[in-house]
């Protein structure tokens, strides 16, 4: 009897009252029903319109999303790279001066007492400078050891490319350095990210020594040279002039260009091969669409051969120190 009355009352209430109240029985009133919600479509359309007007919401840093424990992440960072960092140095390396400034500013704006809530953080300025100097020194030594005939301008160009913003930021983002960086803005600007990565290298050098830090730089920065051409990184405006300088320094005869091959001279895609001869012996030959372009390419090929930075050069040594100890005979060129 009671159940029938309750059912009748439920039926009556559904049709008569607004659909937001559902009398289950005399004492129980549910404000949510599991049936199709009439307000859902209107709500969704309004939120879509709002999103279209305002654009997508700005990205938030991973540290402000759920499931992020800073200390655990910092320890995992070191373990992942198979390096033993000192945790304090590493945490200092991630703190940027812009972050300290913005935090002080926030405290000042909120009117909080400066002494009780002072930030006990040191910024990464020293570590950054130290890391930058160490990285550039190590990379310069590596280049000179592997390419002894490469001039200083070339070494500087390669080192500049590897320590430049693009490569460093790419490496830092793919090693999760960006998530741990403490900076004022998000997304972290390239310069600050590059500085933080230098600071991390500085922290590694101070924790584990220059040998381990050198291996780290070799494994993560030098690998970006794989597949890259020398003149992509080193912008040489006049390769022929540079070649003449190199040959005079070596005491060889000056290069004479001669047209070796030509095909399709009167077509849309002509092909000329120009060979450079020094003392009647072929130095290098290069292709081009016009004779001048072919001569310049031949000069570049000659320079690549002289410096030893060809595509078929002997592969660089990326073995670990334990493997190097086991096979000393197969090592030819080691890092500096």
């Amino acid at each position: 009897m009671r159940a029938v009355m309750a059912a009748c009352w439920a039926l009556v209430s559904r049709s008569v009252l607004t659909l937001h109240y559902h009398h289950v029985c005399r004492g129980v009133l549910l404000t949510q029903i599991r049936e199709k919600k009439r307000w859902m479509k209107a709500y969704t359309l309004i939120m879509e319109r709002k999103r279209k007007m305002e654009g997508t919401p700005p990205p938030t840093p991973r540290s402000q999303q759920p499931n992020f424990d800073y200390h655990a992440e910092v320890e995992a960072f070191g373990a992942r790279l198979q390096e033993s960092f000192s945790v304090e140095l590493l945490k200092t390396a991630f703190v940027n001066p812009c972050y300290l400034r913005s935090e002080d500013e926030r405290r000042r704006v909120l009117g909080v007492d400066a002494e009780t809530t002072a930030l006990n953080l040191k910024d990464n300025g020293e570590l950054r400078a130290h890391g930058q100097q160490f990285t550039q020194g190590f990379l310069g030594n590596w280049c000179r050891a592997n390419y002894p005939s490469l001039p200083e301008a070339g070494v500087a160009a390669i080192v500049g490319h590897l320590t430049g913003s693009e490569v460093m930021c790419h490496v830092a983002q793919n090693l999760a350095v960006e998530e741990l960086t403490m900076s004022a803005e998000f997304p972290v600007p390239g310069v600050i990210l590059q500085g933080t990565f230098f600071a991390v290298i500085g922290a590694l050098e101070q924790s584990s020594g220059p040998v381990r830090a050198g291996l780290f730089i070799r494994d993560f920065l030098v690998t970006h040279l794989i597949g890259k051409d020398l003149f992509d990184m080193w912008q040489v405006v006049d390769p022929m002039g540079l070649l003449v300088q190199e040959l005079t320094r070596k005491g060889m005869a000056l290069p004479e260009p001669r047209l070796i091959r030509s095909a399709g001279a009167s077509t849309v895609l002509p092909l000329y091969f120009v060979g450079l001869y020094s003392d009647h012996k072929l130095l290098a030959q290069g292709p081009g669409e016009t004779v001048l372009a072919a001569e310049e390419e031949a000069a570049r090929v000659a320079l690549r051969n002289l410096y030893g930075y060809t595509e078929n050069h002997r592969p660089w040594d990326f073995t670990t120190p334990s493997e190097q100890l086991q096979n000393p005979s197969t090592q030819v060129l080691t890092s500096g």
């Binding site: 424990d69 790279l81 090693l175 999760a176 690998t223 970006h224 595509e311 990326f318």
Partner: protein
Amino acid sequence: MTARGSPSRFLQSVLHNGEGRYVCQLKRISLIFSKKGQGSLGVRDFVEEGVVDFAKKNPGTVVYISPQSSRIPKIVAEYLNGNVKEETVTNKTSQQIAEFITKLSNQSGLDIIRIRKPFHTDSPSIQGQWHLFTNRPPSIDPVGPRSK
């Protein structure tokens, strides 16, 4: 779908992984499950038995256990290249979840789509790529079609 209709990529590695040293690409794994729901039974068993061993074997991966009042248990894996992979594990056994998590830790974060070529090389040619004039004897006169 067809090969042209679905996305594809070339074989690649994140940051030349393995050429220098090997870095485990899984950086964070979150287990989201409910304390009482029956779909999360496998996850709860895995949390009791296997998760600590997994965390010890992979010190570079941070494991987050978040029991929430959720009907669907999920595993969220984040990789170093930024990709996030979510998978529901309702009604799976603890063994299956353990295997699945090992599979996730062995993956790089790159998309699981068709790989165009099963090989990749940065130095495709050692002796120099063949062109029309390789091994062709030079001649001063223009070369016409070969006469028999």
